[in-house]
């Protein structure tokens, strides 16, 4: 990863973190942010993978970690309008932040029941192939989606037809309250797929540069027409599944604190400083600017109206 690339990774990760921190402050202050899922601590994986794509590629995002969306160029104001279910975002308040729809940014949307992203991704990848494009489809997935059968069917098809599909497994230790190790043999989400004879890489999901490099290799493999590839990033969900879940029933407080010491932002910041690529002062200035951007976007979203009759009519017209 060169200097520009590394600084871009840091800036995009900090953008995601700034957003998560701000929303958590608003929640603590009593504001509502329906369906908010903090991606704190997982930014290296979400951002590192998303930035390995080019503008023409497509990305199927997960509910956790808005760095995926921001790295594709989704404006903060659109994201927050979606989060607050207001008009003027990407879905006019009908899909919340769970169904962000920005096809011009390579973001087709997200399935509502975990698991069909893989087969939808295979179809998107086939469409790119038929159109003669070199685009690839990157599909993030967590423990829940990866436990479901469509993953097998999609991967089998992608191998048979050499589809340009890249899967990024976000192994963050949990599916809601269940441990990854209780859901997958030996706690690994991708090892079984080595049986397909495709590239399966396992990386430190808290090291953005390592993630970026591995996903870039996987994307290159798919783009060359050699079929699917998988990267599994090992990380940890520092946040609860949703704000206010019964965290004490499934983990000890020291566990998340221990992982906070491996914070991906702090790690990258230290390396960038060592290399003389980004000083502490520059980081602080970046943080101030992002904070101001997020605050401005929040004010914009809060002021935006929720959907009304005209938006509903437009939706119904789509279905007729």
């Amino acid at each position: 990863v060169d200097r520009d690339g590394a600084v871009a990774l840091y800036a995009a990760m900090l953008r995601s973190r700034t957003l998560d921190d701000f929303v958590e402050e608003r929640l603590a202050a009593g504001d509502a942010a329906p369906h908010f899922h903090s991606g704190t601590g997982q930014e290296a994986l979400t951002v590192g993978a998303a930035l390995a794509l080019t503008a023409r590629d497509k990305l199927l995002y997960t509910h956790r970690g808005y760095g995926q969306l921001l790295a594709r160029g989704l404006p903060l104001s659109a994201l927050l309008r979606d989060l607050l279910c207001r008009t003027g975002g990407t879905n006019d308040g009908f899909g919340s932040v769970l169904h962000v729809h920005a096809p011009e940014l390579g973001l087709p949307g997200r399935e509502g029941v975990f698991g069909t992203r893989f087969t939808i991704g295979a179809g998107l990848a086939l469409a790119e192939r038929l159109a003669g494009s070199e685009a690839v489809v990157l599909c993030f997935y967590g423990e829940a989606a990866g436990s479901r059968g469509p993953l097998y069917e999609a991967l089998n098809l992608a191998v048979l037809w050499a589809l340009p599909l890249v899967l990024v497994a976000e192994n963050n230790g949990f599916s809601v309250s269940s441990r990854t190790g209780s859901l997958y043999p030996r706690g690994r989400m991708s090892a079984v797929w080595r049986g397909f004879g495709i590239p399966v890489a396992e990386v430190d999901g808290n090291d953005a540069e390592e993630v970026w490099s591995a996903v870039s290799d996987a994307v290159g493999h798919a783009r060359e027409g050699r079929g699917p590839a998988i990267v599994e990033g090992l990380t940890y969900r520092v946040a609860p599944h949703i704000p206010g879940d019964r965290e004490a029933e499934y983990r000890e407080p020291w566990e998340a604190r221990g992982w906070a010491r491996r914070d991906p932002l702090a790690g990258l910041a230290a390396r960038l400083e060592d290399r003389g690529w980004l000083t502490a002062e520059a980081r602080a200035e970046l943080a101030r600017g992002l904070r101001a951007e997020v605050e401005e976007a929040w004010r914009d979203a809060v002021a935006a109206p929720p959907p009304g009759r005209p938006e509903l009519e437009a939706r119904l017209e789509l279905l007729r």
Binding site: H101, E111, T119, A122, G123, L126, A127, G149, A154
Partner: protein, 330 residues
């Protein structure tokens, strides 16, 4: 031309017309599902970049079809038997019909799921014989197409392919071999949500769709011989339901009989009866002929006793129109 050939001809002409249209399905190099055999010769004619033979993977077929359609690639996917639609039930009930409502796009979702539906010659057992429209007609955002003859099948399939709205296209097994003239206009299409008055009559209206259309027409003939003037309305698409057409036809008759092949409880017929009662009041007698609420037996003799046939439609119609004369009937 029979319905099977008519459907094949539409797929052929639409594949030739739209170079982006693709087919997905199992066993396509030998004509696709043995329950349908609609896709004969299409792989040979259009090649493997248009006609994709898949593994037995309904999640991948239906989810993949959604991914293609989201990219603007029109797709017709064949499911081996309509009973198997439930193997991709989440995609069919959740992903496909709700996608555009939640996301606000794309403007078109050109996706057709074709499947052989209903009981054919009999004896296929409880998971290869069902009429699946009863499970899908109340899902907002999904069209459910139930042609009863070759011309309707051709015209409705063309609409399904070109309309840009997702549909489940249910081809009744007994309808495949029905012969009928089919317009050779390459743009011949029948809009969704337009029921057809396939026979006029004032004493009784039989409401039917799919495989029941032919039985309803045969029953109407028999009833005419018995002095009952019987009309038949073919819904053609159970979703969208042609409510105006249904009410208009019902208003022209003294009684309404709904003929459904599937089980009585919670069927399409229940929705039709409720609509009639709500909109027209209860002064006009309404009745249903439907299957008993049990799974299809493999044994063809037992199965025949389960399913509504011409004799049962006639008997129920006589009871409905002339209760005083029909007391000897069960």
């Amino acid at each position: 031309m029979n319905t099977r050939s008519a459907l094949n001809a539409v797929l052929r002409s639409e594949l030739a017309r739209d170079p982006r249209l693709v087919l997905l399905g199992e066993n396509l190099h030998t004509g696709g599902s043995n329950n349908s055999l609609v896709c004969g010769g299409l792989l040979e004619a259009f090649g493997p970049r248009r006609v994709f033979e898949t593994p037995v993977s309904e999640n991948a077929i239906v989810g993949g079809a959604l991914g293609l359609a989201l990219s603007g690639t029109p797709v017709v996917a064949e499911i081996y038997s309509a009973d198997f639609l439930f193997t991709a039930g989440n995609e069919i009930v959740n992903d496909i019909p709700k996608w555009r409502f939640q996301h606000g796009g794309p403007a078109r979702l050109p996706l057709v799921l074709r499947a052989a539906n209903g009981a054919g010659a009999g004896g296929a057992g409880p998971e290869h014989s069902q009429c699946m429209e009863r499970y899908l007609h109340g899902v907002p955002g999904l069209a459910v197409v139930t042609p009863g003859g070759a011309a309707d099948a051709a015209g409705l399939l063309r609409t399904a392919i070109r309309s840009g709205r997702p549909s489940v296209f249910l081809e009744h097994r007994r309808v495949y071999d029905l012969e009928e003239a089919v317009p050779d206009d390459p743009d011949f299409a029948i809009p969704f949500g337009q029921a057809a008055r396939v026979r006029d009559g004032e004493d009784l209206l039989i409401v039917a769709w799919g495989g029941m259309r032919a039985l309803a027409l045969d029953a109407a003939e028999a009833l005419e011989a018995a002095g009952i003037d019987c009309g038949v309305l073919d819904l053609r698409t159970v979703a969208p339901l042609d409510v105006d057409g249904l009410l208009e036809a019902a208003e022209g008759a003294r009684a309404v009989l709904i003929a459904e092949e599937g089980p009585r409880t919670g069927g399409v017929g229940a929705e039709i009866a409720a609509t009639l009662a709500e909109q027209l009041g209860t002064t006009r007698p309404i009745a249903r002929v439907a299957a008993a609420d049990v799974p299809h037996p493999y044994d063809p003799v037992l199965e025949a006793r389960l399913l509504p046939d011409v004799a049962r439609i006639v008997a129920r119609a006589q009871l409905l129109c002339r209760p005083e004369a029909a007391t000897t009937h069960r």
